[in-house]
Each structure stands twice: as C-alpha cells, then as structure tokens.
C-alpha cells in the first residue's frame, strides 16, 4: 500500500528549544487574537489559572481546551462554570482551543466535552471559589460557613457588606493547584445547570454576525486552493504554468513533492487557477474493487487480535446448542460530509507559525504543523474558530496543513478553503467494518453462547497524518488513527459463554479517522441486530430478551421506560400483521451502554418497507436517554435529534464510491444524504440524574440507529438487513434470498 494511504514514515518531532510567548488575550479576547510578545499564560492542566481568570470587573473568563463543534458545548460549559462560581451566566465568557491560552484537555471527541472537560472546569471553579471564600472570610472577619455567594459577591448570611470576586482577585493569578477532590456544589442547589438555557451563539448565527472559521480574515491575507492528485497514489510529473497565466492576481503555483496548490490575491482567482491548472500525474490504480470490498477486508493481513471479552467456553457451548445461528454484518465506508468545506488560515512570520483553525484538537495540530514545517513546537500557535460541524476528524486539520505549506511558500498569511470535491474526496473516512457473529440457544431457548469477530483497522485515537505532509513527503505520523473502534464490541448481556475479538487489520483502503460514534456504531449495529436474531430464533419478544440478560438496574429501568414511551407491543418478530398492500410496517428495539461504562440509551424505530421497491421509510424514533446529570436538557435533545437523523441518513443512504484510483462520490448528488421529506419524528424521554456524574451525549444515541432500523425491517417483512446502507437494491435482494 502506498505511503499516503498507510503512512509509514517516521514522525519527526519538531526540535529546538526556543521559547516564544504569546500575548495573553484581553480578558474578553477579540475573536481573532493576534500574536505578539507578552507574558505566557499557564495552560498546565493542574493549575486553576489555566482554566479561569477573573477580571477587576468581576467578569469571568473560562479557558476551555474542549471546543464547541456546533453542539452547544460553549453554552453548557458556561452554565457549569457560572453555577459553580455562583455568578450570573452573562458574566462568563469561554475562550476555546487556543494553544497559547487554553489547557490541553484532549481533542474534542468521544462525547467527553462535558464528562471530562466540563468536569475539570467545574473542579477549577470550585477550587477557585473555595479560595475566594477563604480570603473573603479573613477580609470580612467571618467564618466561611457564615458566608454566601450571590452573583460573584461574597457576603455574610446575616446581611451586611460583602466583597466581590473582582475586588478579591481581579486581574491577578490564583496561583493554585486544581483540586480534583474539591467539594463541588450540591446539585440540589443548582440554578443554572439542568436548565434549558438558550444557546449563546444562535442569535448571531441566525443574523450573519457570527464569525465562523470560514469568515475569518487576517491583515495581508491572500487565498489558496489545493490541486489534489486525480488518483490517491499518483505522483506529480509536470505542471504547465502557462495554463493559468491569464488569471489576474495569481501569486504563485506552489509545488512541493506531490503537493500542489495555488495562491492568488482573490478567492475567485485562486479557485479559477486551481480549476484551470494543467498538471500531469502518474497513473495509479491501487484501490480494491468496490464491489469486492468486504472480500478485500476479510483477506487483509491481521496484525493483532484484541480480545475484548472472554467468558466461559464459547466453542464448547456453540457445539452444545440446540439451535445455532451465524451471521455476517458489514458497514460501508462513510464520509463526514460537513456542509462547509474545511478551512484554515496560516501565517508564518519571524519564525512563528500562527494557524486559525476549526480543528477539534488544536494542541495536537500544533505539534503536527511544527513537525511538518520544521518549526519548534513552542513557536506554533493554533487558535480555534468554530467551523462547519465536523462530526469527528474531518478535513479541518488538513486544511491547516495546506494553509501552512502555502503560507510558507508565499511569505504571507494564506486562507485555504477546500472545494466540495476536496472535502468529499479527501477527508479521512470511517473505515469499512466486517463482523462475523455466532450464537447458540439451548433446548429451553436460553442463550448459551455468543461469539463475535470484528475485522477493523489497527490503531486508536491518535493524530491522523496531514495530507499536505503526506503529499509533500514531510514528517508526519506513521500509524493509523481510526478512533477507539474496539469499544462496544463486547456486549452488556450476561450470557454464560462469550468471546468477542477484534482482528486489527494491517491496511484499510482509505486514510481512516473517526466519524461520529466510531466503531461503537458499527459494533452496536451488529450486536444489537444479532441479539434480535437470537430473540427471533427463541421466539421471544426482543425487548424482553434484552431485559432477561441484563443485570444492570439502570439499563433495565431505561428499557422499561422505553417500552412505555413507545407503547411497545410484546410479541416475537416478525409480526404477523405487517399490513396488506405494498407497505409493511414494523418496529425494532436497540440498546446500548456506551463503551459499557457510561451513557445508557434505548431506541425503538418504526419502519415502513415497500415490498415492491425495497424502499424503507422511518417515520418515527423513540429514544430514552440516561447520561446522568443533565447540564442543558434542550441542548441534549438537540444532540439526540441530530444523532438519530444523521444516522438514519448513514444507515439508509450513505456509501462512499470509488474506482481503482480515487473516490468518485465527490458531491451531494453522488453521496446523497437524508433530506427533509424523509426525516423521522423523534420522540425523546430524558432521564435526569442530578446526583450522578454528567456523561457524554454527542455520540451514544447514534450507536443504536442502524440496528433499530434493521430490527424494525425484520419485524415488518421477516428479512434481516446485514449490510449498511439499506439501499432498495439490497433490500430487494435480501427479500428474494429468503
């Protein structure tokens, strides 16, 4: 496999020891902070000052390494900080993802922004508040127990003069270690957390005032566009500069190895130059044949096995079963499909690289850029600006890499926005997943064996190599980073004999990365559909069968509430009265305990299958969701809606297409997504547990959607759909095969 697809070069870290400080942004930093000299702000993860600053006016700035990717996290983090500090919401501003200002709280992925990032901010705020109350107690001559805080003013409970946060620490550092064991506020006293606070960004977004990454402009900035190879592994042989000599304002054609781009004074000039530039590339046809994708996956070399659960003796139990079942599931390659193509601005000045980016991982991107352009990591600053939703690691980081190479070549700040075909063709992909399952029932229809094998690429959630570095042959990562895709391969059900193993493959056809609910979606799809197969074989109600083998009260309560919400009719599938005529109706259930250690979700899908055309319509989804303590119930419902609708799209419609050279689904016509007429109604019940930990919600409900639909289709027509997407041709073929 070629270098670009499965990068094998050594990742060289940026050397050097030069330390460059950046100005601390004003307490209410401008949207685009400028670089310059000044004292370095703490970004260490164990310092209160890394997370919080209080101005002399008592206003609070929260520095968050987790960023709002359009999910409403900025509002939720504002709520958590305001609640813990006892200040009004409008006193709090959140600065996100600026490597010079915000701590590295890890990339914004994995449904961890509230669960990890928010909880750290809460701890920082609680540590700060305790300190403030302590010094106020000395100042006011009262014991801390006799003091209360009201909107940032600490005062005696008995009344009398108080002292404000601004007066106590305004403009100064806390110089305190973050106390992870600090006592945080009693949830019974919450006034802001748990409320449907309207999102802070929405008015500006609805009126054209919001600054997206794509809107950002920097003084002296020019426009770049990339010219990608016509085949993933093609080499650049020649460039005909005369082909664009009539483009006004063309500054430079930038060529570095197989990296090719153009820079022009105007955006349209850059677009035209990129479109018109004639380049000769070598032929390359190294991709597997699309229609044999899963044969290719099955034949790929296995580098190692991750056994994710192993209970009892599965082989023995499978042989003892009265009924044994086996099935193979597969899940197509998906693209992130951001509506706004990836965009970044980079500037290299006086040996310092500044990059404005919508990256979900600015601290990691900083290291990647430093290595690529050979600048000390201390001399790189990445500043987050919200972009189009990315749903994982899409092309934002790659656009940053492109901008950096172009900026280096022209010595001016360069803005790069990808064109639609760049986004659809070159964002990293959710890798194909192939799953074999076997199960056995005994004579009394007890499940006695469960065995599964997942064929998935090796790697975890590291840095995805930058395209620019790969094409230009510059230092970059060597390993795949498809995300933490082995999670939820093990199951939540207490069968006596279980073995689940992930075969980690040496290669996968396209540069992989995580797309919303990576692995957890594919694995849960196979598991929860196969669970339904076992229920059907046992003649059992599928929801009952799940309850029977769960020994987790919280999960069981959730499933019972789901049955009530969806008016679940207790009976085995398939149903006998699916309707006459062409349309058959059914319902299917699915359940997940996310990564087997956090958020619980159950879903019921209603499906209508056209027996003639094979078309599936999903009119309605019911979802019951327990992520522990809810920060903002309206934001949470918005996320669940999004998870359901986006995943109905992925399940029914989406599939990357390619020839032997390149992705061919390069626009919305060739990679269709769900549109308004087909969007299901989503009925949601939230279980709020204020005294529990707040868990993530950006992904878990998405895990259920493919299996719930597959199970509903089985209920309607008695046909099991084991290959995502469930396009009409596959549905018809499945109907004919029984």
């Amino acid at each position: 496999m070629i270098d670009f697809l499965s990068t094998r070069r050594e990742f060289l870290k940026g050397g050097g020891t030069m330390v460059v400080s950046f100005a601390i942004a004003a307490r209410h930093a401008p949207v685009i902070a400028q670089t310059g000299a000044g004292a370095a702000k703490s970004v260490a993860a164990d310092e209160v000052d890394s997370f919080l600053a209080i101005g002399t006016d008592g206003k609070v700035t929260v520095y968050s390494g987790k960023v709002d990717l359009g999910t409403g996290v900025r509002t939720a983090l504002t709520q958590m900080a305001a609640e813990e500090l006892d200040v009004a919401l409008d006193r709090v501003t959140v600065i996100q993802g600026d490597t010079a200002l915000t701590p590295d709280q890890g990339p914004t992925y994995g449904s961890l922004s509230i669960q990890n990032g928010g909880v750290q901010i809460r701890q920082a705020a609680a540590t700060a508040k305790k300190h403030l109350v302590d010094i106020a107690s000395q100042k006011l001559g009262a014991t801390t127990d006799d003091l209360i805080v009201e909107d940032g003013v600490i005062k005696p409970k008995s009344g009398g003069k108080g002292v404000g946060y601004g007066e106590l620490v305004g403009g100064k550092n806390f110089a305190l270690k973050l106390d992870k064991d600090v006592k945080t506020k009693d949830p019974a006293a919450f006034k802001i957390v748990g409320r449907p606070v309207p999102r802070l960004d929405i008015p500006e977004k609805c009126t054209g005032r919001f600054t997206y990454m794509q809107d950002a402009r920097v003084d002296g900035m020019v426009h770049g566009r990339v010219v990608r190879p016509p085949a993933l592994g093609a080499s650049l042989q020649s460039v005909d500069e005369n082909s664009v000599k009539n483009i006004l304002g063309l500054i430079k054609i930038v060529r570095e190895g197989n990296f090719l781009g153009v820079v022009a004074e105007t955006e349209w000039g850059a677009i035209k130059a990129a479109q018109n530039l004639l380049a000769t590339w070598s032929k390359w046809e190294g991709l597997p044949e699309q229609k044999k994708l899963f044969e290719h996956v099955r034949a790929t070399k296995i580098n190692k096995d991750d056994v994710t659960s192993n209970i009892g003796d599965v082989q023995e139990a499978l042989q003892q079963g009265t009924k044994t079942l086996k099935a193979t599931y597969d899940f197509a390659i998906h693209t992130h499909g951001s509506i706004g193509p990836s965009c970044a601005i980079a500037e290299i000045k006086n040996g310092q690289l500044t990059c404005w980016t919508a990256s979900q991982a600015t601290h990691n991107l900083k290291k990647q850029l430093a290595a690529m352009v050979n600048i000390p990591v201390e001399s790189v600053r990445c500043i987050y600006l919200e972009g189009s939703g990315c749903y994982g690691r899409n092309g934002h980081e790659d656009a940053a890499g492109d901008a950096a190479l172009l900026a280096r070549a022209v010595g001016r700040p360069v803005r790069v926005q990808w064109m639609r075909a760049d986004e659809h063709g070159w964002d990293p992909k959710g890798p194909p997943t192939l799953i074999d399952l076997r199960g056995a029932l005994d004579a009394s229809n007890e499940v006695i064996a469960w065995e599964s094998e997942f064929f998935i690429p090796e790697g975890a959630a590291g840095n995805v190599p930058l395209i620019a570095a790969s094409l230009a042959g510059l230092p970059r990562e060597t390993a795949y980073s498809p995300g933490n895709i082995i999670q939820n391969s093990a199951i939540p059900y207490a069968f006596p004999n279980i073995r689940t193993v992930c075969h980690r493959l040496a290669e996968t056809p396209f540069r992989p990365s995580w797309i919303r609910t990576p692995g957890r979606m594919q694995n849960t799809y196979a598991n929860e559909a196969f669970m339904d197969e076992l229920a059907a074989a046992a003649g059992a109600d599928p929801l009952d069968l799940r309850l029977k083998y769960l020994n987790d009260p919280r999960g069981m309560e959730l499933l019972r509430r789901l049955a009530a919400l969806s008016k679940w009719e207790k009976r085995p599938s398939p149903q006998k009265n699916a309707g006459t005529g062409n349309i058959a109706k059914g319902r299917g259930v699915s359940y997940v305990k996310y990564e087997l250690n956090r958020t619980y979700v159950g879903a019921v899908a209603e499906a209508e299958v056209n027996r003639q055309t094979g078309e599936i319509r999903v009119p309605r989804f019911y979802v019951v969701h327990d992520c522990g303590q809810i920060i903002n119930p309206d934001g949470l419902k918005n996320q669940i809606d999004g998870n359901v609708i986006q995943t109905v799209s992925r399940t029914l419609l989406e599939e990357l297409t390619w020839d032997r050279s390149m992705v061919t689904s390069l626009d919305w016509a060739s990679y269709p997504i769900l549109t308004f007429p087909a969007v299901p109604e989503v009925v949601i019940e939230l279980i709020d547990r204020p005294n529990e930990k707040p868990w993530g919600a950006g992904e878990p409900s998405a895990a259920l959607i493919p299996s719930a639909i597959s199970n509903a289709v089985f209920d309607a027509i008695g046909v099991r759909l084991r290959s995502v997407p469930f396009v009409p041709a596959k549905v018809k073929a499945a109907m004919q095969s029984i």
Binding site: G70, C206, D215
Partner: protein
Amino acid sequence: MATSVPLHVNGQSVTVNADDPDMPLLYALRDNLKLRGPRFGCGLGQCGSCTVHVDGEAVRSCITPLSSLKPAQKIVTLEGLGSAEKPHPVQKAFIDEQALQCGYCINGMIMQSAAYLAKNRNPSETDIRQALAKNLCRCGTHLRIVRAVKRAAGNI
C-alpha cells in the same frame, strides 16, 4: 479583465470590482462586500448554504454569475433580512426554536423559508418539508427547522 459591477444589496447601491464578470455572486458578497450570511457549501447549487434573495426569490449565489444580474435587481442577504436586535420573523422563530447546531446551513434554511413564506402563508408540515427538500443539513436539526418555519408562518 477587471470590471466594475453595480449591484443593489440590502437596500444599498454598491459597486463590486471583479477580475471576472462571471464570478459567482457569492464571492462578491463575501469577499468584496464582507457579508457573512451567504456561505460556501458546494459551489454546485446542491446544498443551499449560499442562498440569497434576488427580487424576493431564493437564489443560489454560488452558481449565479455576476454577469447574469441587472443593477436594479434587489439582492437581500441574511444580514439584510434582519438583525439580532430586529430579527425578521423567520430569524426570530429559528432563535426561539433553537433550530440549529453548527448553523453553517442555517443561512440557506432561513432565506429559503422566508422566500417561501412570503408566498405561502399557511403551509402544512409536509409543505414545509417539501419547500426545504433541496436544502441540506448535516447536523440533523431538520425537526427544529420545520417547527421554526411553522412558528414563523403564524407571525408573518
């Protein structure tokens, strides 16, 4: 060859200098006039993020060459529709319904809906879904968008 193109945008007559008379309107609005409402999504007229009104009709500015526009044609962008202080009923309804996630597509949703509601005062949910059938949202905020348009229909 550089040309000056007279346009009428958000109630004002403006002149746009462009190197190419066939440059799509989107770039004149975003780059020359520094407007942020209309957004580049696909450049193919497939997604709707770039939607503006031209004489009250929803038009995809990414595939509308400047040369196809007449100086008297009234172009309105999201900024011209209303402001955070004085939002258009459709903008207000989107804010009230919290009808977006990342919001990149929302310019198109609002502009398409506003043009539709100007001519269709009492649409059903099915009508609204059809009216927005060619606008793409990836975050999955469709249900809130439909509710917002329905709410706005009662307030226009």
